[in-house]
Subunit: 114 residues, 2 copies
Amino acid sequence: MSDHPIAPVGPFEPPYYAVVFTSLRTERTEGYAEAAARMDELVADVPGFLGSDHAQTPGGLSITVSYFRDEESIKVWRADAEHRVVQKRGREEWYETYVTHVSKVERSYRFERE
Amino acid sequence: MSDHPIAPVGPFEPPYYAVVFTSLRTERTEGYAEAAARMDELVADVPGFLGSDHAQTPGGLSITVSYFRDEESIKVWRADAEHRVVQKRGREEWYETYVTHVSKVERSYRFERE
């Protein structure tokens, strides 16, 4: 997913939400990269979207963590029509399995080498 | 980290905790793999530890999400003496930067291809 910065984002001022999405892909790749890039673009316009982190082990697990200010901003993103179409296509074509954990961040810290 | 299964773990019965650890490594690798494997072993013995997910983009971001039943189990893990020594070494040698988000999972779902 091209738009993800290499450094971890955050932390943000708690409380905020972290939506943890862990997935294993199928072998079908057609349309995936374009859809992922488009979703990155769309979610960035959701009021209350704070940023996201993404990592993928080649041939293995993929994790995306998206941070939102509040429940309302998650609701807006979940209801987005284009997002819903892509989610459906994901279940039909791109994902073998995935798990979503919607969680409220209570505290967070950053370490940075000097 | 050798002990991480390829498939995403969970979901578990909410509420539970997700500790999201996002990091960028330095170029120093000495001792890292052994320490990571040992930490996987140790955390598995913490009462209330539910499992963890790990993904790493080669040369890029690494994300580990560890799931715990409650605050108490996180506290036990945080206080573990061997864990603290390894965390200190991580800041001195292995990590360029990291962010930790401690969050309470309110809801979760799994999709599985049929």
